[in-house]
Symmetry: C2
Subunit: 493 residues, 2 copies
């Protein structure tokens, strides 16, 4: 009985969050521009009400009095209590102020990025940073603020661990990157900007998302937005967005990336619907799914051997004079570049490590917001030998900080590492390995549902990793994968 | 101080309703089909929470303690108290059950209409009807249930008044309709189904909505849905939908109809934002705005003299061999037909009067839901000499009953009557009359903002009518307008 009452309350809170999610999706896709200010207020109200309901005396009493009948209930209680402990440390007024600040910062960021004018964004980022520091302090004044913030995205992970993994990864991939750049035998990159009509890009990406990866219009849809994202308002209502550019891989691989996120949310067991268990367990694990689809599968040779003919049909100007092998080499070009979301598998993690280093310094005060563009550009020059010509292609490129997402970036690289570790474990089953070699991903997707998706948040990232792969997260499989793939593509043996 | 607190609370409730509105808009436009069930739950939760916040002890205390500082506050208090008195009569559980029943009924109606199968809809309509009767009883067990229900749509109006106006109207328009049909000199209707590409229909309708009627993409957008509607989540975020058909006037005049609703919401004074005053004062007054744009303006000769060249440019197949006068005659064809939303100005009100008569009988129990299709068809035969070939073109054509909107239909005809009464009053200003004759509606729109739009719900429909036109609502101007316009078009003098 009390469990039913708790479930009912959690359902209401989940519904409020779903509505807030739709307000946000709509803001990015269809909302008329004048509506921005009041939309921020609406989102703040819903976030505030959800927080109020979740943290009030009634929810606390329901949590204290609830008796789980089975493992499903047990997970709901465990996860909800963890969230509740965190949430009760933040006053409603703070949550509303924070949400409003992020909404304002978002609009400023859109304008700043459009005009490549960091000054427009700077005071908003300062406000978000101050509130984020305050958030960490309210939660746990004794812990390192980065650990406290990161716990929202990657529960249980510490900045010192991240630092150690990143140092290791940097050391082992830098030489590979240097050898690739020195080889000077890259594929013809101009293929990647050959004419590919916008409608055809979106349609091809969406069709393959369905055929290869299982994303169906019965429960999902595709729209356009400035920055691609996945969101969902239930496991039966999943939205991905894409962006169409002359550089057509942005749309294709971006769509398949979001499809990985989407299928994770789709795969969570239905008995956890409208509870806090019903979503991915961490952003790192989430990213392992999106990167697996985007990179390990869609940037593989078997994938293009299978989908090349269809690409030829819808975009003959793109494939003219090419075969699957040539296309495979082109979409795996390694090219130190300015934009994270367009970076290849070898350079991508340098973008993430840069952001992690800057966030650490912003939080400990050794870097001022006003000096951020300069620091960004210096690190970019050191890592990849490049300096952004303007801030739009530098410090203003990501949406994250405008949304208060500090401590979030490391999860991208943690996800990259985990994606290979999971795929390696899955392919111990010969049927799955054979499927991957034939670009038939049904058996792999079934394995992912069983070992990753269906558990939702009932397993922590570390539990999930150990139970699915037999060991904790390590960079070894990823480093080995990079060497095998790129030594072959670039003839480095 | 207490007024500020009240305002803050009303703002929260308004934000919840805006979010619920977006959930509903999304359901009609973009939502994946599998999401229907949980979406119903989400909308029920938000409606329930909004109702709970509005009716709880804190809101009651704020209302009791509030001291208005000015007329703006005064209107907020007056309108909020009126709503509060009504709302406190409905328990939260009832509101949630009612919302869920309507959501279920909506899905059943979509399916029933698709397959023209009334049986699919019948149990849902029965449930909605039972709950609607219960709603009327909870509100005021002594009043006629129709009066209680209609008060939500047309505050202050009584079924006996409606009956009297409708009897009068029927008596005075029936002979005109007979003379028109007997004249046998109608324009060539095939013009109305000439090829007009879907994209061009939508684009032309939207462009004219902006140019002629002031609906701008800064604060509004156009999408597609099965049944066209207007909704808004603030006066800076207005959505209209349209439906594209071979019969192209459905898209064009439908868009301009919704534009009338949109501009009313847009015109409400900004100082009432996020309060209950911030919307149109009744559906009848709302309809006077939509019908004015759709019929009195967009179906006038000066309008087509102005916009014919543009139509010629975007749809040359439609205008081939025509001049503005011929097009004017075609879009004003009088043709007794089965579908209300496609009906002309002379027959339209018969559709409404039919629904009013059936609703009265459903409510007093003299008509059973199971016998509704038969009763519909018999009345249709009597009024317009037609019998629907199936229920999709008969009793299943409207969305309203599936949404619990009983007592709503009369507002369409009340709006028709008021539209002419208002336009007549506005044109006492020679500059406005000259503008209307040149299809330059700027001066008229300014008059509408001053005399209708800006007041929001601060004036009752009757107050507004008397203050804007100098007298209470009467059918006389409408009947005179119909006679003048159609005796000319059909050479009946």
């Amino acid at each position: 009985m009390s469990m039913d009452q708790l479930r009912r309350r959690l359902g209401q809170i989940s519904d409020l969050k779903a509505a807030a999610g739709l307000l946000s999706w709509d803001q990015e896709t269809y909302m008329p521009p004048e509506a921005g200010e009041i939309r921020g207020q609406q989102m703040a109200t819903l976030a505030g009400l959800a927080h109020e309901l979740f943290t009030d005396a009634q929810t606390a009493a329901l949590l204290d009095g609830a008796h789980p009948q089975d493992d499903t209930d047990g997970a709901v209680l465990r996860v909800t209590r963890r969230d509740h402990d965190k949430a009760t440390k933040l006053p409603t007024e703070f949550v509303e102020e924070y949400t409003r600040a992020c909404s304002d910062a978002h609009h400023a960021w859109v304008e700043a990025r459009q005009n490549s004018d960091f000054k427009v964004f700077q005071p908003h980022l300062q406000r978000v940073l101050d509130l984020t520091r305050r958030k960490a302090e309210l939660r746990d004044p004794d812990a390192h603020p980065y650990d406290v913030l990161m716990d929202d995205y990657e529960p249980g992970m510490h900045a010192t661990q991240v630092q150690a993994v990143f140092d290791d990864l940097r050391e082992r991939t830098r030489p590979l990157l240097r050898r690739i750049v020195a080889a000077g035998n890259a594929a013809d990159y101009s293929v990647l900007t050959r004419p590919f009509p916008a409608g055809a890009q979106k349609a091809f990406a969406w069709q393959v998302a369905g055929e290869a990866f299982g994303l169906q219009p019965d429960f999902a849809r595709q729209d356009e937005s400035a920055h691609p994202f996945q969101t969902n308002f239930s496991r039966s209502d999943i939205r991905i967005t894409t962006r169409v550019e002359d550089y057509w891989p942005a749309c294709l691989f971006g769509t398949w990336h979001e499809t990985g996120h989407a299928m994770y949310e789709r795969g969570v067991a239905a008995h956890w619907a409208r509870t806090p268990v019903s979503s991915g367990t961490s952003l790192g694990v989430h990213e392992s799914q999106s990167r697996m689809f985007e990179n390990l599968l869609a940037r593989s040779l078997p994938f293009w051997e299978r989908y090349f003919p269809e690409l030829e049909r819808v975009a003959p100007e793109v494939t003219r004079g090419l075969d699957p092998q040539a296309l495979y080499r082109a979409v795996n070009r390694v090219n130190p570049s300015l934009i994270r979301v367009e970076a290849d598998e070898v350079t991508y993690n340098f973008h993430v490590m840069l952001r992690f280093a800057l966030e650490m310094r912003l939080l400990d005060g050794s870097l001022k917001v006003a000096d951020l563009p300069e620091a960004w550009n210096a690190q970019m020059q050191e890592d990849l030998g490049l300096t952004p010509p303007d801030d739009a292609q530098g410090v203003l490129q990501d949406i994250h900080w405008s949304a208060g997402l500090i401590g979030y970036f490391p999860t991208y690289t943690l996800g990259n590492l985990l994606s290979v570790q999971l795929l390696e474990a899955a392919q111990r089953d010969p049927a799955i390995a054979a499927g991957v070699q034939a670009a038939e991903y049904g058996p792999l997707r079934e394995w992912l549902v069983q070992h990753v998706h269906r558990h939702g948040r009932s397993r922590t990232p570390e539990e999930l990793t150990v139970q699915a792969t037999g060991r904790p997260l390590t960079a070894d499989p990823y480093v080995a994968y990079l060497h095998a793939k790129y030594e072959d593509i670039y003839n480095l043996k």
